[in-house]
Symmetry: C2
Subunit: 498 residues, 2 copies
Amino acid sequence: MRRCRDLLRVANLCHLLTRHYIKLSVDTINPHVVRLEYAVRGPIVQRAQELDIELKKGAAKPFEEIIRCNIGDCQAAGQKPISFIRHVLSVATNPQLFRSPEIPEDAKLRAKRFLDSCGGSVGVYSQSTGVQVVREDVARYIERRDNLTSNPMDIFLSSGASEAVKSILQLLSTGRDGSGRAGVMVPIPQYPLYSATNAEYNAYQIGYYLVEADDWSLDVDQLEEVLQQSRDKCVPRALVVINPGNPTGQLLNVSTIQRVLEFAHRHNLVVLADEVYQHNVYASDRRFVSFKRVLHDMGGSLAKEIQLASFMSCSKGYMGECGLRGGYCELVNFDPDVQAQLYKCLSARLCSSLLGQLTLDVVVNPPEPGEPSYEVYQQEKDSVLSDLKLKAALVSESLNAMPGFSCNPVTGAMYAFPQIKLPPKAIETAKSKGMAPDFFYCLSFLEDSGVCIVPGSGFGQVPGTWHFRTTILPSVEQMKTVMQKLERFHTAFLNKYS
Amino acid sequence: MRRCRDLLRVANLCHLLTRHYIKLSVDTINPHVVRLEYAVRGPIVQRAQELDIELKKGAAKPFEEIIRCNIGDCQAAGQKPISFIRHVLSVATNPQLFRSPEIPEDAKLRAKRFLDSCGGSVGVYSQSTGVQVVREDVARYIERRDNLTSNPMDIFLSSGASEAVKSILQLLSTGRDGSGRAGVMVPIPQYPLYSATNAEYNAYQIGYYLVEADDWSLDVDQLEEVLQQSRDKCVPRALVVINPGNPTGQLLNVSTIQRVLEFAHRHNLVVLADEVYQHNVYASDRRFVSFKRVLHDMGGSLAKEIQLASFMSCSKGYMGECGLRGGYCELVNFDPDVQAQLYKCLSARLCSSLLGQLTLDVVVNPPEPGEPSYEVYQQEKDSVLSDLKLKAALVSESLNAMPGFSCNPVTGAMYAFPQIKLPPKAIETAKSKGMAPDFFYCLSFLEDSGVCIVPGSGFGQVPGTWHFRTTILPSVEQMKTVMQKLERFHTAFLNKYS
């Protein structure tokens, strides 16, 4: 830092003498931006894009298409949008369609209710926290889900869940270095939004390992240990938990959530519950239980005190409307003055997309039995979720059948995160190329088979172990193909490096 | 800070003894968030909302409706959306409408081209920088506007222009305090996004006054002076210019832009050109000239060196699609490595709304002569712009006819920013209530007449002068009413406090 600044002074002096304009460089821009990494769109994904362009130009490759298993982008993987969502959006956008017989009446009613609440057009700014009826509908959705009260004023709408997560992390970051710096506990492996945002706001990241041998659960003893180790570097402020898990695909059980909440209470931590996969549960004997519900059931001072921020999105679940950028955050037990500061901060970005807000409104307020669109909506929803369930089982079973692979059951979310035992020769080869071994494995698989997966090093893993994340989003047929391609590649890879 | 930290330690100790959970408070959250202010949605606007709710509940007030002149929200003020934009959006969202005879063929073609480029659905994530055809269309739009080449790779799409502005300011902020802190030159009066974002990223704000007596132009001698005065507090990094001006409503002339660019070149400043009002020019004898065009015409090392970021939005102009959140930024002369860092940073928020991107695509690629929608599009566009021109003249003329008011001609954007001479007794009364005098004036006007305008103190002004910002967005009839109400209120106000 100091060296940088001295250089800058010298540079400024030179400039005065020579009148040469000095541009920003990677050494002089915001160092937090430089430090930020986001693996889901990293170099392997860029290489996949290049290969795609080469294929389209007619280049000969050992594969005919790129299959993208790198990102939770449902519709890019071929999933069809839910018709009812699109009906509502199209009529709200183009009100002449209120006269069209092709738009179902229940879609028109929802569009009208939204337009009446926001001021008559999807082209207006809403309140920074979102259109009032949507906040009310979200509250009712949470009430039905948890059988608990929810206050619309504690809910704000955001551009996907990502923006809401960033707002909360920004709120509790202090930016300072040294012992006053905010500490944020983040799982390893994690969804890289968290590490990226911590880098962006200069929060100190306290990584804790999810326990692979225990279905990617949390171990409170380990949480205590890493927290204590961080005390001289930061003031621990927050704990991030992703449930169902990304990239790990696990659904946490209630007793784990209870222990985690007790831990958070002992240490004054704000809990960030990333619950965007709450519709994506595949274990037949289990269901999603929210952090808020568990918190309430624990009772006592804990239930009244722990600050909890829960995130939800339109981008996942059965709807997969990533591009429409709808999301929400519910705040529980936040100080009203702090909440007011957060909402003030949101106002400078004006509001999230009104059509994203409307999408969310449909998701939390879907057609009811008896409404014209109910049956089709249910069919479409069930079809997506039952396919995902099939693929969750297919992928973990296929992976576990391959030598050197072990994969926990995919009980939730949209991902598998298998461990691979790599032969020492492969590890050496990777290192000689300056690559992490799992990166080398994934890149080789891409070049060989056209399948894009993301190495575990992008999400974090126990040192010396190697993983990758694959989504389960391509069609059932394509996922079968992916598994066949992987088996063929993996066999050849083992032969080559054993 | 230190005191805060000590308190926190004591609090932590108490907690260990009592097991009492300590919540975040305004004293312990991110101090940059606490410092952030955003006047366009400040207390007067909140009061207007309360009054609106009271009115709707049947309360008796000296007015029958709230007229909102506080925010550049065109459609909230009654402006009709451009039909073609809505046709394109509705068919892209709901592809069954490709069969509908009610959607014009040119709208279908644009929707199809967009869907083909993004992967077939508005529900997918795009590249973080935006859908490729939109970036290409933006580049062609800039080429036509400036008669200069533009590279799609230098353009990124954003959630309104606000997000792009925040990204650039974040990129060049260092967050550090003391002499290594980034300095950002911002006009006074300014659009408060800039002060809010500088607070958020802890950039040092170097305010420079726009010269009211010279039609809100920039004075380079003053720029030099404030820059020199800031040198011990920061490393000046950037200069923000809003043209046409917000809140000031002026169009800058080319020679001013030239002098400003020379100044930026002398001092290694990145120029942020907020050009979101480029379609809003009302002076009959003048037209919008971009910073990029002026930069190019100046030639020499300057044209090849100055880093320029130009911002544009779908929210203003004649389209006023605020809620759809479309915007772009073009980067000129940025170091490719710096640009790569910026684009990496964008990737953590995934992408802006696809429907916002599509809206922008229509704005930069409107119907051409001969296409079915051309005539209606032109009529709708001309109608909005000619009304705005009428209101620009109406407002400045009406204001200048009132005693104690002076208002520069509104040559661009959507605002007037008149100066008011307030009687000493009014100033004293305001101070006795703990209010800034212009805040007191605006609040009194709201309570008396139901018109919501924003005091100059929210944008900044020369100390001892008082202003407010009013939009010119309500209908011509409503703007006449606003001016009549203001005249009546102002006369009574002067009588009361003289």
